[in-house]
Amino acid sequence: MKMKKLLTKITGLAALIFVLAPELALAAAAKAERMVIVADTRKFKGWEAWWTNLYNESHFYFTLLTVIIIPVVGFIFGCLADLIMGRIGIDLKSRELAEH
């Protein structure tokens, strides 16, 4: 129980760092050059045009979507690769923990 409480506190603290300190959070990328990049929307149609427009109009929504899409795509690809690996016939749920 103690461990559970401690972990809840730590998770809360970690969440606080992310939520309450956006200035600090963005400092990591501060080393990137300060210049404005504009995507050329004229070359695209359909979803690509929408995507480039979103980039030009709001980096916030662009970031939000990217941060959602990356783990979702990772999860889907991970599950697919899992399915394929599962067909090989090896045990994918256990391993021997040994150093030598």
Binding site: K2, M3, L6, L7, I10, T11, L13, A14, I17, F18, A25, L26, A27, A28, A29, A30, K31, A32, E33, M35, V36, I37, A39, K43, F44, E48, W51, T52, Y55, H59, F60, F62, T63, T66, V67, I69, I70, P71, V73, G74, F75, F77, G78, L80, A81, D82, I84, M85, I88, G89, I90, L92, K93, S94, R95, E96, L97, A98, E99, H100
Partner: protein, 357 residues
Amino acid sequence: MEWLYVLMPIAGVKIFWPGLIILGVGVGIIGGFFGMGGAWMVTPGLNILGFPMAFAIGTDIAHMAGKSLISTMRHGKFGNVDYALGIVMLVGTVVGFEVGAQMVMWLERIGQVDKYVRYIYLVLLAFIAWMVFSDVAKKKRKEREAARAGVKLEALATGLEWHKAIHRIKIPPMVHFKVAQIYVSFWMPVLVSFATGWLAGILGIGGGLIRMPALIYFIGCPTHVAVGTDLFEVMISGLYGTATYTYKGRTELVAAIIMLIGAAVGAQIGTVATKYIKGYGIRIAFGLAVVGCAVSIIFKLLAKKFPAYGTIFDNAATVLILGLVAAMSIYIFVRMVQGAKQEIAAKKAAAKAAAAS
């Protein structure tokens, strides 16, 4: 051959997409096997494929987050991820990283930060390589002594045992991390992760290269658990990095997703390979990767020192890194195939024996 190229919507450059998949496979294998993001391998690779440097880092971090999620899923099923330890360390990592990043900005105002950062990186890599190989040598000595005494070393016995000194520090609260099989003061993983995060922030890297050995040598995690737990951390810090770089407009999501196709396969190969390679096999391969990385940084420093030969040294550094990725990927893939073949053969033999009896 136009179909082999895809126009990147944000960066506005045409990229050879099979190259992105191959890069994804290679980094997926190495990342899943060693438990790191592998930014030091991907960024030069993306640059070679024609990515503007402004987009290479952000795209790399975005792909790294997705790839680490795939590897963490697989390592989690093997029981290689200590989620509690990962969350505890995340606190120290985030705070340490930000302190390091702020410190670099302060150093930038003083000047010459790039040169010093490379020197610090080099010293750190030399220390990690020394740590790994002296550990291997000490473990071999212990094995020889045990053989002389007619006993066998325990499966989890190691050469260097610095973590035992850290475990003796009993500052409350004491925490039992079940998967990692360690009982340690809560503050020790926080302190270690703060230090590794701080170094990563100063060096401008993800930190897996430092955190994985720190988990082994300072926290006392078994190698496989260190790999899995580190990937869990890379996944979260990767998402955080993706947010910061994307907000600055430096991420090409299309490229990251194409790389993820290859990384999904590579991450499975790298992770499953850890099932067939013992902890010290992973440690030795990791040590060699660190040496390769250090040599590439020496080339980069030489390029700055001797501008007349700058191109030659820069190219040598890139070739070395990509050669290292290729060689390591092939080695890990071969070991995984060999291990899987043996396991399937053993299963078939057991089924035959059961049917005969």
